[in-house]
Assembly symmetry: C3
Amino acid sequence: MAAGPVHEALAALNLVDHHCHGAVTHGLDRTGFESLLTEGEAWPGVSPFDSPVGLAVRRHCAPLLDLPRHAPADVYLARRAELGAEEVNRRFLRAAGTGVFCVDTGFAPDRVTTPAELAGAAGATAYEVVRLESVAEAVAADGVEPDAYGAAFRSAAWEAVRRPGVVGVKSVAAYRTGFGLDPEPPSPAEVTEAARRWLARGGRLDDPVLVRHLLWTAVDLGRPLQLHTGFGDSDLRLHRADPSLLTDWLRLTAGTVPVVLLHCWPFQRQAAYLSAVFGQVHLDVGLALHHVGPARAGTVLAEALEITPFRKLLHSSDAYGVAEFHHLGALAFRQGLAGLLEERVDADEMALADALRIARWTGRDNACRVYRLPGGPLDGAPDDG
Amino acid sequence: MAAGPVHEALAALNLVDHHCHGAVTHGLDRTGFESLLTEGEAWPGVSPFDSPVGLAVRRHCAPLLDLPRHAPADVYLARRAELGAEEVNRRFLRAAGTGVFCVDTGFAPDRVTTPAELAGAAGATAYEVVRLESVAEAVAADGVEPDAYGAAFRSAAWEAVRRPGVVGVKSVAAYRTGFGLDPEPPSPAEVTEAARRWLARGGRLDDPVLVRHLLWTAVDLGRPLQLHTGFGDSDLRLHRADPSLLTDWLRLTAGTVPVVLLHCWPFQRQAAYLSAVFGQVHLDVGLALHHVGPARAGTVLAEALEITPFRKLLHSSDAYGVAEFHHLGALAFRQGLAGLLEERVDADEMALADALRIARWTGRDNACRVYRLPGGPLDGAPDDG
Amino acid sequence: MAAGPVHEALAALNLVDHHCHGAVTHGLDRTGFESLLTEGEAWPGVSPFDSPVGLAVRRHCAPLLDLPRHAPADVYLARRAELGAEEVNRRFLRAAGTGVFCVDTGFAPDRVTTPAELAGAAGATAYEVVRLESVAEAVAADGVEPDAYGAAFRSAAWEAVRRPGVVGVKSVAAYRTGFGLDPEPPSPAEVTEAARRWLARGGRLDDPVLVRHLLWTAVDLGRPLQLHTGFGDSDLRLHRADPSLLTDWLRLTAGTVPVVLLHCWPFQRQAAYLSAVFGQVHLDVGLALHHVGPARAGTVLAEALEITPFRKLLHSSDAYGVAEFHHLGALAFRQGLAGLLEERVDADEMALADALRIARWTGRDNACRVYRLPGGPLDGAPDDG
């Protein structure tokens, strides 16, 4: 659609999608597909197709299924079923033009592609991101005494990140307690006491002391830490997922591991502030970009980039379940970013060479740098920043 | 001004203004008019005409009084006085092109039109929305024992919503306590104890226990519940009116009555999130649209629609006092929405048929659906969603 | 670049920069310059030039050093060193086109120009703004008994504001405690008790009781009060610097001194709300404008002006350290404001005369009015509002 040298450069760039999930490997009926189209619960009488992301699917995904742009939902679903999950996934994952996927394997209520399967379908490379809450819950499920929990979790997390292909860890503390936590690490006695309560009660990890313990353990693992912030499903209290609530913790952990704030919307400016004042903080606006669609992706990116250093923004799709989202996330990022960079070049606010550098950094190189990806363009080489 | 098929369709659409108030029935001098032009207190030496809404009045309302666009404030006021309140109201209310007004009758420090008078002047239909705090305060004013308050309020609210023409209820909890409330319903004993304190003290209903009781009673009434959120007058603490603070309460009340978040600005993205994840949540950006004026209405609507399902956005003016606002609210909605939809159709991000459907839904049909308006285009018919 | 009558009028207008700091008077090496370019800590391997403000410096400041637009950082720094601090400061300060600077003299970790030196280099007039926390800390450093602290601070503040050239006071309460304070004035006994703790402990003033005492003392001084809000350095907790947290205090102090909310980003809409409902509240988006750069200044200003009365917005650069920022702040304000006004005039949403008046007010006259600047265009004259 839009053209120009930055659009062309971004169209040709093999992206790194530094945070996503797998795609379902089975066929989907209307209910199944629609439930994956939305972060929300079912809306009685309201189809998720009648939403910005629904329009984006009909506009930008239909042609990849050999349908006209804006094909009706029923036609789309029929054609999708006809092609079958494997072919559909292959088409969207190839169309994404993503060279590297970093896959969060800790969330899969459905049967979804493994990182290897995702890589295979996409013709790309996949790495793994370990969700620490899942590690902690596995430790609990395996049975552990309260006073051994702290060490057991730490040890399990170390083991998990040492597996081949693991490039980072992730926490969903935003969902479990929100970020209004005491920023200090809890004492071993506090951890034991909290573990006693949690293990007796069961359920998912949502104890504030244990969440703090998890975050401080993450720091010791020495791997980049992804933190869900902002937008997500109905399990969230959005105001507690404002990343600026993490300020004191970020101050205490400055100089340790890279922290990547995921999603951020509608707190992208708060995240931008943190990335501008704390050396270790990075951000993306994944998930938001395909939900708002290419029509608004440029606006969200422009807010995210208002004061963000250009080495601090990364690309992710946060796609889960339907491979449409792996494609749409990449497309919205490319179109949104190219649009805003091109506009600034045209207004002579930015040199073309700078725009091309920013496109390359945010679309690929920043992720290679943060995750030390083998074979990445900066692998072992001095920083070109 | 702007043209195109969506502009034309919206210009021709009889809107449903699902939340507004009456217009004053007496003449207004400069002080009186200016005090209705602003949500704020008087600004010494600063005329409310020197504000975005003041410019919008001079631009878009002056021609309806047979004046040139951008007529000076003095000229505007003189002509307004010359025509008289009745004629002025008639002109603006007809110009609004609104077919249905849902009128909040619980706020009227001035003598304003009744719903029937508003309907008559506009050549439209009017329904009523019952403000629950006014019901509670009337119960207190009539005299009630603390241990009878809970049942008396409930019974008065039931009676109020059963009156002919009542289509919904409203709460101004945002003003009274803000939304940082315990989400659980209070026990009868707590209600009695809180009523004892409140009835002894008098004044408006601002006890947190009684506000919770009011919100939970609203759920039992089975009618759509309008909640003031965000922007309002100086009586507000804006940060406590962030609708995301209501998340836990919305989770507990999921599957019950429709909730419509009013105004929302500057929390329209937070409201959009809630509408995307909770089936019962709807929103509007009324009040904000005429205060920011047509020049910014498109931006505010674009943020409100970033992830909002298209069946979840409604139109309201929240006009109070001056009929200019009934007109401006409708105008800003039409121009802002048409501008953004037209732009997306032009960019081929949306099919024209979808744009027209979204215009019809948000301008009229969503309100008919939520309030089950008799004679509405969807009355008794299966949902066309 | 852009042209039109509002651009021309703003280009010719002698601005009042109502809040800034001095520029360093010594040469700067790369590390020194880069550390002044960012509000943040050092980013290992990331140059502050690779940020929106870095691009803006290379685009808009390089030509003033006789370099091509977008000159590389190394070339820029070499030329800057070659010219020397005095010449560099002179060039940027003159280019700013600012007629009056109000200088906060209470923050100067580096040796920077005094107000008189700044005025001399710029060919402008300079006034002084007294930072109240510095006054309080000087009182403590001079030695005072806890029970004498309240009166001693009050007396020192009175003396400070009575010095010639002082036009206002400032507080950085946002940094020290945030705005989630009890809005009531503390009692003398509370002040004594808090002073006892603080004087024993030493360090900067961050006791909540003493910060409240400082804010209430400010009200008694009868001078305009500048409050840092929103964006700043890593010493901040951004969410506690949301100006809407000040609502109760603003309600209690309504009708006293003018309050100017500084910076505000990303809370410019919250600040706009406060300015619309409280007579004494004004705002600027200083600091933010040069950090986001001219490419985004119009968007930030448009949000700040969404509902703000046009007599309530002021211009500031909040420049500190490098005179590039005095220039860029003025440039971003001029270009951003002219762009948005011109666009509205073109769309016939605003008359040209109104646009020119708004440009003059926000760029100069509002500050003259708030600070009663001698020789200002409104000095002693009746308000033209």
